[in-house]
C-alpha cells in the first residue's frame, strides 16, 4: 500500500500506517513526520523523503528503508529488525539500541550509538558509511558500531568518541586521529575481528552498493574497553 504523506501530521500518518494491514507500506512525500515505524514489527516500511525524529524507535522487527535523510533519534531503543538510511542521519541515532541493525549510507550526527547494549543473541549494530559526529559510542555497553568513512574524510570521528565505553566494539576504517579516553584501547583489527564485521559490510554493500570483500580487506582500527581492574570509587558509609 502507498500512503501520500504530504500535508499529513505525524499523528495522522502513523495512524494510517497502523490501520493498514499490508505487510509492505510505502510512504511517499514524507517531509519530517515523526515516529515512523515506532514499535513496528514484522513489516517493511519504505519512506521516500525525509523521515522525522524518532524513526524506528522501539522497533521490534521488520525493515525500515529511508530513501532520503533521517532526522534525530533514529532507532531510539530499537530492539530488532533492520533500518537502512540512504542519506545521512541526525543526532542521537541508535540511542540505547538493544538489538537489530542500522545502516546509514552517509554521515551520522552527534552522539550516535550512545549507550547501545547487548544481551544474549541481541547484538545491535550501527554501520555508518560516512563519518560520525562527536561523542560517538558514549557509554557504549555492548553491540557493534562501524564507521566506514567511505568519503575518506580527514577525520572519521568527531571528538570525545567512546567516552565511558565499557562494552561492545567500535570499528573505524583507517586510523584514528582523535584522542581516545583512558577507558578504551585501540588496535588494528585482526582477521578474527574482521570476521565479526564481514557480515555487516556485506549487508551494507548489498543495500548501498560497493564491494564488501574489498572493503573487508582494508585496514580497520578496533576500539574496545580497556578492561582495567575497576577501581573502587566508593566507600560504604
Amino acid at each position: 500500500m502507498e500512503i501520500y504523506a504530504k500535508g499529513m501530521g505525524y499523528l495522522q500518518l502513523n495512524e494510517a500506517v497502523r490501520a493498514c494491514t499490508d505487510n509492505r507500506i510505502s510512504i511517499r512525500g514524507c517531509n519530517g513526520q515523526r515516529f515512523i515505524a515506532c514499535a513496528s514489527s514484522g513489516r517493511q516500511i519504505d519512506v521516500h523523503g525525509v523521515a522525522g525524529n524518532g524513526a524506528g524507535a522501539y522497533m521490534e522487527s521488520g525493515v525500515l528503508n529511508v530513501y532520503g535523510n533521517a532526522q534525530d533519534a533514529l532507532a531510539d531503543t530499537m530492539n530488532g529488525g533492520e533500518v537502512y538510511v540512504f542519506g545521512s542521519c541526525g543526532d542521537a541515532a541508535a540511542y540505547a539500541m538493544r538489538g537489530g541493525e542500522v545502516f546509514v549510507r552517509g554521515d551520522a550526527g552527534y552522539r550516535a550509538g550512545v549507550h547501545m547494549k547487548e544481551y544474549g543473541e541481541h547484538v545491535p549494530a550501527l554501520v555508518i558509511g560516512g563519518r560520525a559526529g562527536c561523542f560517538l559510542g558514549e557509554y557504549l555497553a555492548g553491540g557493534i558500531i562501524a564507521v566506514l568513512n567511505l568519503q575518506n574524510s580527514a577525520q572519521a570521528l568527531g571528538e570525545e568518541a567512546a567516552r565511558g565505553m565499557h562494552g561492545g566494539r567500535i570499528y573505524v576504517r583507517g586510523g584514528i586521529n582523535v584522542p581516545l579516553p583512558d577507558c578504551v584501547t585501540a588496535r588494528t583489527a585482526d582477521k578474527e575481528d574482521m570476521c565479526v564485521l564481514a557480515g555487516y559490510l556485506k549487508k551494507f554493500c548489498a543495500a548501498f552498493g560497493g564491494d564488501a570483500k574489498k572493503l573487508a580487506a582494508e585496514e580497520f582500527t578496533l576500539i574496545t574497553p580497556a578492561n582495567k581492574a575497576s577501581k573502587r570509587l566508593y566507600a560504604g558509609n
Binding site: 502513523n14 497502523r18 515523526r34 515516529f35 515506532c38 514499535a39 514489527s41 525524529n53 524518532g54 524507535a57 522501539y58 521490534e60 534525530d72 533519534a73 531510539d76 531503543t77 530492539n79 543526532d91 542521537a92 540511542y95 540505547a96 538493544r98 552522539r111 550512545v114 549507550h115 547494549k117 547487548e118 544481551y119 544474549g120 541481541h122 561523542f135 558514549e138 557509554y139 555497553a141 555492548g142 565511558g164 565499557h166 562494552g167 575497576s230 573502587r232 570509587l233 566508593y234 566507600a235 560504604g236 558509609n237
Partner: protein, 498 residues
C-alpha cells in the same frame, strides 16, 4: 586503627540467657558472630549495622544492640558522624556511599504544618456513617469536553484509577529482591493502586500484575522494549530522583546476576550504568519527543509520568514538563530514599518536597495549566498526616517507598548498598531473599495503606470534607507553626492563629 574501638554499635549478650543455639550466627549475613574453635562466641561489633535481625530472632532474648557507649571525641561542631566519615575516607580514599533517605536533622516542613478541623459553624463528617470519596484519577484530564453521538462524554485518554491516593514508588528489581517486588505488586492489586518497576525491567512473573504496574524508562533504558512498555498501566520517565538529583545509577557487575541480568537484558556480571543525563534530552522539546514516542509506541493508551527531583528552579521545570505533553509530574523531595547514593549528594542536594510541591502547584495555577497535569509527591511521606498535608498543598497523590519497605520488615539500618539485607528486601542472595515471606509482606502493606486510608478519612471528615477533590490544593486547611513569613509565602499558608 582499631576498628572495634570505633564501632558504631555495641552488642550486649546476656550470658545468663544465652542457650548457645547458634541462631545469631546463622542469621547475620554481616558476619558479626563467629563460633571460635574452643566453642566461645566471638562478636565483631564493628561489622554490625543494627538491623535488629539477631535480636528479633534470638529465642532466648539474650541479645541487645545499643549505640556504642565508647565514642571518639566529638563536639557541637565536629559531630560524631563527621568524625566517623573522615576516618572512613582517610582509610579508603573513597566517595562515601549511603542508602535510604537523607537522615540529617533538618527541617521537615510537614512537622511544622497544622491541619484544620470544623467546630460549631460547619459540622465535621463522621466517616463511619457517611460516604467518603478517596478515589483519585491520574492521567487524562478531559481538558476539552467532547460528546459522542450517544451524548456521552468521550474520554481524552486513559487515566489511572487509584482507590487510595498512595502508590508504591520506583524501586528496581536489583535494588530490591524478587520477593519484595512480588509483595508490592500483589499489594498494589489488592489495594486498587499501583507499584513502580524502577529502572530494572519487569520480571516475566510480574507481567500478570500489569494493570497495577507503572513501568519506568530512564536514561539506561534497561529492560525497555515494546512488550514492557505495553505491560504496565502507565509509563514513568525518570529524569531525576530526590536522593540523588543530577546523579545517575550504577548497579555494579557483581549484582547483575541471574534473573537480574535477564530482566535488565544485559550480560551477567556487566555494570548497569544509568547515566545522569538522558543523552537525547537537552530541552523541553526533547522531553516532549520522548513523551510522544512512548505514546506512539503504546498507541496513546498509557498516561506518561515524568519524575524529577525537587531542585531550586522546580516551578519553572514543572511548567515545562506540563507543556511537554506529560500527564503526571512526580516531584521527589530531598528526603527521598535510594538503594545507593553518594552521601554528600543525598544529604546536600535538592530541596524539601513540601516547598517544591507548593511552589509548583502555585506556578501551574498562575499559568493556568494546573489542570493539564496531575502532581504526585514523594520523598519521605511517613504517615497519613504527611499525605493529607501533601494533598492540601497541591498533590493529587503520593508515592511511598521507605514506608512500604518498613511495612514489609525493613529495619532502616541504611545499608542497602551492601547487598546483605538480613530481612530479604535489599539483597539478591537467595538464602536472604527467602527470609521475606511474601504473603506476610502483602498483608502488612495492605494493612498499612488501609489504616492510612481510615486516618485520612477521619482527618478529612474533621475538616468537613468528604471528597479528596475538595482537599486537593485546599491550603486554607493548613497553618504554619514557627515558620517565617517567606516560608509561609512559598507554602501559600497562613500562620497558626491567623
Amino acid at each position: 586503627m582499631n576498628a572495634r574501638a570505633r564501632a558504631e554499635f555495641e552488642i550486649l549478650k546476656d550470658a545468663s540467657r544465652c542457650i548457645d543455639c547458634g541462631v545469631c550466627e546463622k542469621q547475620c549475613a554481616n558476619g558479626v558472630y563467629k563460633k571460635a574453635a574452643d566453642g566461645r562466641l566471638l562478636i565483631a561489633d564493628e561489622k554490625c549495622v543494627n538491623c535488629q535481625r539477631c535480636v528479633e530472632m534470638c529465642p532466648a532474648g539474650a541479645l541487645k544492640v545499643i549505640r556504642n557507649r565508647n565514642t571518639p571525641q566529638s563536639d557541637g561542631n565536629w559531630h560524631l558522624r563527621a568524625v566517623r566519615e573522615i576516618y572512613r575516607q582517610a582509610e579508603t580514599g573513597g566517595v562515601l556511599l549511603s542508602s535510604m533517605g537523607n537522615p540529617c536533622d533538618m527541617p521537615a516542613y510537614f512537622d511544622r504544618i497544622a491541619v484544620n478541623a470544623s467546630q460549631v459553624t460547619n459540622p465535621p463528617i463522621d466517616p463511619l456513617r457517611e460516604p467518603m470519596e478517596t478515589r483519585v484519577y491520574l492521567g487524562a484530564q478531559n481538558r476539552q469536553i467532547t460528546r459522542g453521538r450517544d451524548g456521552k462524554i468521550q474520554p481524552e485518554g486513559k487515566a489511572l484509577r487509584l482507590e487510595v491516593p498512595v502508590m508504591f514508588s520506583a524501586m528496581s528489581y536489583g535494588s530490591i529482591s524478587y520477593n519484595a517486588h512480588a509483595a508490592l505488586a500483589r499489594a498494589a492489586r489488592e489495594l486498587g493502586t499501583y507499584y513502580n518497576t524502577g529502572e530494572g525491567g519487569l520480571h516475566r512473573d510480574f507481567y500478570e500484575y500489569g494493570e497495577n504496574t507503572i513501568v519506568q524508562v530512564a536514561s539506561g533504558r534497561f529492560g525497555v522494549h515494546k512488550d514492557y512498555l505495553n505491560a504496565g498501566a502507565a509509563i514513568e520517565i525518570k529524569m531525576g530522583q530526590g536522593a540523588k538529583p543530577g546523579i545517575g545509577g550504577h548497579l555494579p557487575g557483581e549484582k547483575t546476576v541471574g534473573d537480574i541480568s535477564v530482566t535488565r537484558m544485559i550480560p551477567p556480571g556487566s555494570d548497569a550504568i544509568s547515566p545522569a543525563p538522558h543523552h537525547d534530552i537537552y530541552s523541553i522539546e526533547d522531553l516532549r519527543q520522548l513523551v510522544d514516542s512512548l505514546k506512539e509506541a503504546t498507541r496513546y493508551q498509557k498516561p506518561i509520568f515524568v519524575k524529577v527531583a525537587a531542585v531550586h528552579n522546580i516551578a519553572a521545570i514543572a511548567g515545562g514538563i506540563a507543556r511537554s505533553g506529560a500527564d503526571v509530574i512526580v516531584l521527589d523531595g530531598w528526603r527521598g530514599g535510594t538503594g545507593a547514593a553518594p552521601t554528600r549528594i543525598r544529604d546536600n542536594v535538592g530541596i524539601p518536597v513540601e516547598l517544591a510541591l507548593a511552589s509548583v502547584d502555585s506556578r501551574l495555577r498562575a499559568e493556568g495549566i494546573r489542570d493539564r497535569v496531575c502532581l504526585v509527591a514523594g520523598g519521605s511521606i511517613r504517615n497519613s498526616a504527611d499525605m493529607v498535608k501533601a494533598i492540601a498543598l497541591g498533590a493529587d497523590a503520593v508515592y511511598i517507598g521507605t514506608a512500604a519497605l518498613i511495612a514489609m520488615g525493613c529495619h532502616v539500618c541504611r545499608s542497602c548498598h551492601s547487598g546483605r539485607c538480613n530481612w530479604g528486601i535489599a539483597t539478591q542472595q537467595p538464602e536472604l531473599v527467602a527470609r521475606l515471606n511474601v504473603d506476610e509482606a502483602v498483608k502488612r502493606l495492605v494493612n498499612l495503606v488501609t489504616a492510612w486510608k481510615h486516618e485520612m478519612e477521619e482527618m478529612m471528615g474533621g475538616m468537613g470534607i468528604n471528597a479528596i477533590e475538595a482537599l486537593r490544593g485546599n491550603r486554607l486547611m493548613l497553618r504554619g507553626l514557627g515558620l517565617n513569613s517567606r516560608e509561609l509565602d512559598i507554602l501559600g499558608i497562613m500562620h497558626a492563629g491567623e
